[in-house]
Subunit: 455 residues, 2 copies
C-alpha cells in the first residue's frame, strides 16, 4: 500500500507478490509470477523527461512502439464521460479509421490535455503525427495512439513534447530497464510504477504479454493551483497474432472484469483509456473470435488485466486495505457486478473497512439498494454474508440465510486487521452468476490528499 | 452545522434560520419563519424515555396521534431497499389495507428492528396494535404506522416499548413543548431535534403543517459492538382535508424534490420512511388531485419538505459546509436530478468542498459521467459552471461555454470559505429542466465518526 515513497519497481512489485501470495487458495490462478524477463518481442519502448513536469528527475513522456513491418492489431476501451479529453477523441478517431490497426502508443503525464478546446485537439494530433514521423518516417496514415494524464484545463507545452518524441526515437529498448522507464512515464501521484509481464500458451506456442497501468491518483499536493482529476490509463501489448475484432472483444471482456471492477473513489475521469496491441511478432496463425483457442486468450488477457488493475487499488490514495468484494449466486452477471460496485463504492462500507469494523449491516444495505434486472427480487432469507481472511484460515459467516450470526468479535478483529481480505455476499438466487470487485478503504489520508492540500 | 452539543431546539433552529436568511435573493421562498406557535389542530403528540436507549435522560419513544373522530388521510414514501425493516413492511401493509387511512404514528429510536426475522415482524405489529388500544380503545382495524431507527440486527426490548406506549397515552399535548419532546424521540446521533411548523392558505382558509425529521446520522460512538446504519425518518402532518390519493401524489412529488434530493453519504437505509397525515380538523372541503388548489398544496408541501430535508444535511456527519447543487437547462427533470445527485455524492467533489477548492474539473467529470435519457448528449461547448455565494454578492463563473475561465483565486477562496454556497451547472440544452440537490462536504470528522469509533 502507500506506506512510503517509491523505492524501486522491484521492491514494490515484490511487496505486491507477497500480498498476493498470502491470499486464499481459491485465488491460486493469481499466483503466477507477475514479473518476467520475457517481454513480448517486436516492441521497442522507453520513457524520458521532456519538460511537462517541473522536476527533471521524473519521466513525463513514454513510447511503446511495435517494430513489425505491418501495423499491429489494436483495440481500446475509453471513458464514457461526456467531457472526453482531446487524446481520447484522437485515439478513437484513429482506431475507427484504421479498422483496429496501430503501430505505437505515445503517452505524457503531468497534463491531461482535457477541456482544452481546439488547441487541445491540435496538440493531441501533433503528438500522434510526430511519433509517426519520428518512428516510421510516415506522414500517410495516422498510426500512433495518444494518452495524456495530469492536470485538466491547461494546454500542453507541445513544443517540448514534440522535441522529446524526436529525441526518444533512438533511445528505445526492449529489456526490463526500458519497460521500467516507460512505466515511470505514466506516473502522476502513483507511488510505484505499475508494470506486469507474463508468458502464456496457445496450443504449443508460447507468447508474451506486458502491461503498464497508472493509478487513479490525484495531482500532487505541491501542484496548486492545479485543477486535477483522477485518471486511469493502461496498455497491454502481446506478440501473439490476434485479429482486430477478436482483440477488441477480448479486451472489452477483460476490462469489464478488471479496470471496470475496481474502485478507489467511484469517479469516472475524462481521460480513462486502456489500449491493447497485438503485433504477431512471435508468429503463429492469427487468432479470431471463432477460434477454439480464443477463450483461452480472453481468459489470459482478463487475468492479466486483473493483476494490473489490482495494482491501481493497492496504490489507491490513502488506502490501508485491499478488499475483494465477491457477489455470488446472482440472477445475472450484470446484477452481481452492480451490487459489487455499490458495496465497493459505499462511503459507509469503506469507512467501516478503515475502522476494521465487520459492519455487515452496511454491506447488506448497499446490496439491497440495487434494483435487479427483469424485476427480480432478493429473497432476504437466502442471503449469506461472510468475511474471508487472506491467510487461508476459515471464513467468518456474519449473516446466514438472512439471520444475523452471533459474531466472534475477536475473530472479526483478527480478519479485518489483515491488509487483504474478502467480503462475500451470496444471494442464493437461481442463475448462479458471480462478479468480483476490488476496492480500498476510505481513510483520513484520502481526505487529506483530496481536500486539504491547499492548507 | 455540527459544531457543538445540542443546546435547545430554539437555538439550533434559529441558527438555521440565520443561515437560511443569508441565502441569495432567489431563495426568497425559503425565508418564511420555520417555527410557529400555530401547530396543526386535532393532533396530540409527545415523546418519552421507555428504555430502548441506556441513557434515561434521552427520549426513545414518540407518538403523533390524530384526535379526530375519523381516521386521517395517510401517505408514505418508503425505502426501496430489498432488506426492508419490519416497521416498513408493517406500515406498508396497514396503508395498503386501509386504502390510505391512519390515526397515529409510533416511533422508537435506539433500535431499527431491521434484519430481525419473524420476531421483528411480531414486535412491529405489537407496537402498532398497542398504540391503537391505548389511544383509541380499538382492536379492530390497525391504524397506527410504525417507524424505528437505530442499531440493525438486534431485536427490540418490546415489553419496555409497550409499557412506554401505555404510559404515554395520558401524557400527550399539542403545544411546542409536546412537539419538541416528540422530535427528540426521533434522534439518534442528531445534534439537534428537527422540527418545523408553518401555516399556509388554500383559498381563504389558513391551514397548519408541522413536521419532524431525523438525520442520516450513524449510531453513537459509544454503542459498539453495535451494527449501525444511517436512517432517514420524517413525518409531516396537517389539519387540512386532503384525499388519500391526492396526499400520496403530493408527498411523492415533495419527497422526490427534498428527501430524495439530499446526500450526506449517498447510502440508502433499510428503514427510510416519510409519512404524511392530513386529518381535516381545520375544516374545509377535501382536496383532490384535480382541484385547482392542489398545485398550491403540492408546492407548499414540497417547500416544507425541503426545509426539513435541509436540516438533515446541516446536521450531516462531520459536515462543515451546506452546498446547493443546481443543474439547469437539462433535457428532462430526471436527467437534471441524476446529474445533481452524481455531483452531490462524488467523494472527489465533497473532499474538494471540504478543502475549499473551486475544483470545477471534478464537478465537470461527475456531470459528464451520467448517461442522459433518450440517448441525448451534452454539447460540451454550451456548458457553464459557476460558484454562487450565499451572501448576495456576484457569482463566479469558472467554465464559460466549455472554456475554462482565468479564475480569480482570492474571490474563489472568499466564496468557498462561506458555510453556504451553490454550485451551478448549466448544460445549455433544450428542454430547460432543472433540479437541485443539497449536500455537505466530506471531512476528517466524517471518517472519524464512521470508521474510527472503535479505537
Amino acid at each position: 500500500m502507500r506506506n512510503g515513497p517509491y523505492k524501486s519497481a522491484t521492491r514494490a512489485i515484490s511487496n505486491v507478490t507477497r500480498a498476493m501470495s498470502s491470499q486464499a487458495p481459491s485465488k491460486a490462478h493469481l499466483h503466477k509470477p507477475i514479473l518476467s524477463s520475457k517481454f513480448p518481442v517486436g516492441y521497442a519502448v522507453g520513457g524520458s523527461h521532456c519538460g511537462v513536469k517541473k522536476d527533471a528527475s521524473v519521466n513525463d513522456l513514454g513510447l511503446i512502439v511495435s517494430t513489425t513491418d505491418s501495423p499491429a492489431s489494436a483495440a481500446a476501451c475509453f471513458t464514457r464521460n461526456a467531457f472526453k479529453a482531446a487524446p481520447v477523441v484522437v485515439s478513437q478517431d484513429i482506431l475507427t479509421k484504421s479498422a483496429g490497426k496501430a503501430r505505437a502508443i505515445v503517452v505524457n503525464s503531468g497534463c491531461a490535455n482535457a477541456v482544452t478546446g481546439t488547441q487541445g485537439m491540435k496538440d493531441a494530433w501533433a503528438m500522434s503525427k510526430e511519433t509517426d514521423v519520428a518512428m516510421f518516417k510516415s506522414k500517410a496514415t495516422p498510426s500512433t495512439l495518444v494518452m495524456s494524464t495530469g492536470v485538466i484545463g491547461q494546454t500542453l507545452p507541445i513544443s517540448k513534447i514534440l522535441e522529446g518524441i524526436r529525441a526518444s526515437a533512438d533511445n528505445l529498448g526492449s529489456d526490463f530497464a526500458a519497460w521500467e522507464q516507460a512505466a515511470k512515464a505514466f506516473m502522476t501521484t502513483d507511488t510505484f510504477p505499475k508494470l506486469v509481464a507474463r508468458t502464456f500458451a496457445l496450443g504449443d506456442t508460447t507468447y508474451r504479454m506486458a502491461g503498464i497501468a497508472k493509478g487513479a491518483g490525484m495531482i500532487h499536493p505541491d501542484m496548486a493551483p492545479a485543477l486535477p482529476h483522477a485518471t486511469l490509463l493502461g496498455c497491454v501489448v502481446t506478440d501473439a497474432a490476434v485479429a482486430p475484432k477478436a482483440l477488441q472483444k477480448a479486451l472489452t471482456y477483460a476490462v469489464d472484469r478488471s479496470f471496470n471492477s475496481i474502485s478507489v473513489d467511484g469517479d469516472m475521469s475524462t481521460n480513462d483509456t486502456i489500449v491493447a496491441l497485438a503485433n504477431g511478432a512471435a508468429g503463429g496463425p492469427e487468432l479470431t473470435a471463432t477460434d477454439p483457442a480464443f477463450a483461452t486468450f480472453q481468459e489470459e488477457l482478463k487475468d492479466f488485466a486483473v493483476q494490473l488493475a489490482q495494482l491501481v487499488v493497492r496504490d489507491g490514495e490513502g488506502a490501508t486495505k485491499f478488499v475483494t468484494v465477491s457477489v455470488r449466486n446472482a440472477p445475472t452477471y450484470e446484477d452481481a457486478h452492480r451490487i459489487a460496485s455499490k458495496i465497493s463504492t459505499s462511503a459507509l462500507v469503506k469507512t467501516a473497512l478503515y475502522g476494521e469494523d465487520a459492519n455487515w449491516g452496511r454491506v447488506l444495505a448497499a446490496t439491497g439498494s440495487v434494483p435487479l434486472s427483469n424485476g427480480a427480487s432478493i429473497d432476504t432469507g437466502k442471503v449469506n454474508v461472510s468475511f474471508i481472511p487472506s491467510d487461508g484460515t476459515s471464513k467468518l459467516p456474519v449473516l446466514v440465510n438472512g439471520e444475523p450470526e452471533k459474531v466472534d468479535e475477536d475473530r472479526a478483529k483478527e480478519i479485518l486487521s489483515l491488509e487483504d481480505f474478502e467480503v462475500e455476499v451470496d444471494l442464493g438466487m437461481e442463475g448462479g452468476q458471480e462478479a468480483q470487485y476490488w476496492t480500498c478503504d476510505l481513510s483520513y489520508e484520502y481526505v487529506r490528499i483530496n481536500g486539504d492540500y491547499r492548507s
